[in-house]
Amino acid sequence: MALTREQLAQRVAQEFQDGYYVNLGIGIPTLAANYIPDDMQVMLQSENGLLGMGPFPLDEEVDADLVNAGKQTVTMVKGASLFCSAQSFAMIRGGHVDLTVLGAFEVDCQGNIASYMIPGKLIKGMGGAMDLVAGADNIIVTMTHASKSGQSKLLSQCTLPLTGKNCIKRVLTDLALMDIEGGKFILRERAPGVSVDEIINLTSGDLRVPDYVPEMSV
């Protein structure tokens, strides 16, 4: 079975390590914050100027001056800090954030990512995504493996305008966890109950399949 949104978030959370500073994009990545293990300290970076983002506020705690990158009201954890946007992107661009998780429309086996613009459709802008993919060494892209009509989103070459070039090394889809190395996708894990053949069929870019591909534990 393909992973649910919650299971994707759970698998993302398995990449967290104690003491990590993490930037989570809007959508599934944000859900991963719900699965930080109790015995681990992870600090969430919000690119509008907050390190140490907490959960949504209680009704009486809502503060218009405290929002996340999706403009949602949030709280701060103990030990949080606040700063301006230039400082925020200095920590992103400068490679100080340990892990970045974000969504995409397409990824290809050269590590290119397209996530902000579909020509002919409404252009809303890239926000901080281009800075995040250019600045982070450790990035996980979360996405569905194929479109609703069954078109692969893991390509030999992205068809949409790029958000970043040669910068993605790990992709988590609803079917598989893959690394990108030497111009190939490498199948590392498969979703429980999903066959290797199914993944091969829905991966359009070059794919290397090791002899043993374990099921994810989610």
Binding site: V67, K71, T73, F89, G164
Partner: protein, 233 residues
């Protein structure tokens, strides 16, 4: 003699000298920390042909969205312009020019503009539509594009607290683009929630020194929340 006293008492005075076709650098992220009363004053003045650099373009009827109603903005430099139907309509019809700029690059362009740095190299946007036509240079095996600094005839911004000299403190994530925007204006106008007497702010706790501020005004703020998200007790 006003010396270092930056306080003005009317919004009209705060934006005196703002003329058609000028460039404005604006602080704020979404509707958080926006100079909402200064924007309203620009609407009242009816200044047209403006180029505005701001992370976002407001929403319908709020923030910079207000200036779209009478087509006062000619060009918008922003990283994200969603959630605004009027913006979309004017962009699609070609009435409004849009230069999409990555968020971190936009922040750095403002910072550079205020810091006397004409341009800088960044990896952000290399190999993407943002990098098209820009100078590329390789440092230590990696490609970077040259991005030019941004500065404006005016900067408009919002801070939390100030002393009369324009020394500023911001509050929580309402800081965002405001400090850099202020440094990048020839005339920088800041509205705040509270103005205190000189000496009442601890110099160690000032986020931006008053040297960057030309005019300071105390206002009252709506502080509209875009996405009110709460958890249950």
């Amino acid at each position: 003699m006003s010396g270092f006293d930056k306080v003005v008492t009317s919004y009209e005075e705060a934006l005196d000298g703002l003329e058609d076709n000028m460039t404005i650098i604006a602080g704020g992220f979404g509707l958080c920390g926006i100079p909402e009363n200064l924007i309203k004053e620009i609407k009242r003045k009816g200044t047209k042909g403006l180029t505005i650099a701001s992370n976002n373009a407001g929403v319908d009827g709020k923030g910079l969205g207000l200036l779209l109603e009478d087509k006062q903005i000619k060009k918008m430099i922003a990283s994200y312009v969603g959630e605004n139907a009027l913006f979309e309509a004017q962009m699609m019809s070609g009435e409004l020019e849009v230069e999409l700029t990555p968020q971190g690059t936009l922040a750095e362009k403002m910072r550079a503009g205020g810091a006397g740095i004409p341009a800088f190299y960044t990896a952000t946007g290399y190999g993407t539509p943002v990098g098209e036509g820009k100078e590329v240079r390789e440092f230590n095996g990696r490609h970077y594009i040259l991005e030019e600094a941004l500065s404006g005839d005016f900067a408009i911004a919002k801070a939390w607290k100030a002393d009369r000299y324009g020394n500023l403190m911001f509050r929580k994530t309402a800081r965002n683009f405001n400090p850099m925007a202020i440094t990048a204006g020839k005339i920088s106008v800041v509205e705040v929630e509270e103005i205190v007497e000189v000496g009442q702010l601890d110099p160690d706790e000032i986020h931006l020194p008053g040297i960057y501020v030309n005019r300071l005004i105390q206002g009252t703020f709506e502080k509209t929340i875009e996405q009110r998200t709460v958890r249950k007790a």
